[in-house]
């Protein structure tokens, strides 16, 4: 695949994420508002606000990775050890979203607790209505319920490395 095709694949994945993260929740309103950060932010692609928290605010960061070679298995992605270190250093919830461009589906994986480079995103946590609700609760709890004494442990951890 040439650089142009890779760029379009990445853009398609970002657009898929942008559509799906702001799908309406069970309340009939979107749970999240995504803001594309652009190429000037090399480590993350989106800042996503959790809606409905008024002035209290809650947000997370996302890096989107797309592949057309998943073949029904985990989504193959390449996130270097250096990038994972940078993602883990962000003092906020950070997730890698793996997109299967063939089936047009996306999967959530927490980057905060992940050790080492990331080679694939499992299909454990599809970005569906239930996981959007869990994600909203996790992000809001991170900002408003968590004490600094406890390390952040996401429910969207890679089950292969637990």
């Amino acid at each position: 695949m040439d650089a142009d095709s890779r760029e379009m694949l990445a853009l398609r994945g970002e657009s898929w994420f942008q559509l799906n993260i702001c799908e309406k929740g069970k309340s009939g309103r979107p749970l999240f508002r995504p803001t594309y950060l652009g190429d000037k932010w090399p480590t993350v692609d989106y800042l996503v606000e959790a809606l409905g928290e008024g002035d209290r605010g809650a947000f997370f960061f996302v890096q989107v990775k797309s592949s057309e070679n998943a073949n029904g298995g985990a989504i193959p992605v390449t996130v270097s050890d250096e990038t994972m270190l940078r993602l883990r250093a962000v003092p906020a919830p950070v997730y890698v979203i793996g997109i299967d461009d063939v089936t047009e589906s996306g999967y959530i994986l927490s980057a905060n607790g992940h050790r080492g480079p990331l080679r694939s995103v499992p299909r454990t946590f599809p970005l569906d209505i239930d996981n959007r609700e869990r994600l909203w609760r996790e992000v809001v709890d991170f900002w408003h319920e968590r004490t600094d004494l406890l390390p952040f442990t996401s429910v969207f951890q890679d089950p292969r490395t637990r």
Partner: protein
């Protein structure tokens, strides 16, 4: 319950437009065109044809049940804003909540590439009418851009060779009559 905040409509229209356009292998899309008032930059012909650009202005609405509409004041603003455009510019309209996952969208020119004989020029479009962005219309869009840029390139070569009477009015968009 309708949710019609502008950020929601715009964000989803942008995403649907990118998914629609990048469904073709011969179209390159950039979301940071650097042109005031333009949301996306489309390049027809893929990576080997970087110069066949077309600006895209996005228009959003809530559902497909509402036809895409713009007011007379929007056209007036376009005609002022893009009166000195040097590339074709179109408007694409997508609903935020379409009935299918892959809406086709609707299309109208803002600055239309036109060919008259051997001359390629740009014309401001005063019409508010949209056309369905069918696969055939998308094919036609790519073809129009390719042909227009090919002719424009030939004009540039002739001008460089000292032939000056081919495009006296071709540098800036002309007002096109409505109809």
């Amino acid at each position: 319950m309708p949710f019609a905040e502008p950020w929601y409509l715009d964000s989803r229209a942008e995403a649907y437009a990118i998914l629609r356009l990048t469904g073709r292998a011969d179209v390159h899309v950039s979301r940071t065109p650097g042109i005031p008032g333009v949301d996306l930059l489309v390049t027809a012909g893929g990576s080997r044809s970087r110069f066949r650009h077309c600006g895209v202005v996005l228009h959003s609405r809530l559902t497909e049940a509402e036809p895409p509409q713009i007011g007379a004041e929007t056209v007036e603003r376009e005609q002022r804003q893009f009166s000195e455009a040097v590339l074709p510019i179109c408007m694409l309209a997508f609903p935020a909540e379409p009935p299918t996952d892959d809406p086709a969208g609707d299309f109208r020119w803002i600055v239309e590439p036109q060919v008259q004989g051997t001359r390629a020029f740009l014309a401001l479009n005063p019409s508010r009418e949209f056309h369905p962005l069918t696969d055939e219309r998308l094919d036609q869009l790519v073809r129009e851009l390719t042909e227009w840029y090919a002719l424009r390139s030939r004009e540039d070569q002739l001008l460089a060779a000292g032939v000056h009477d081919i495009s006296a009015s071709g540098d800036q968009p002309r007002q096109r009559r409505a109809g």
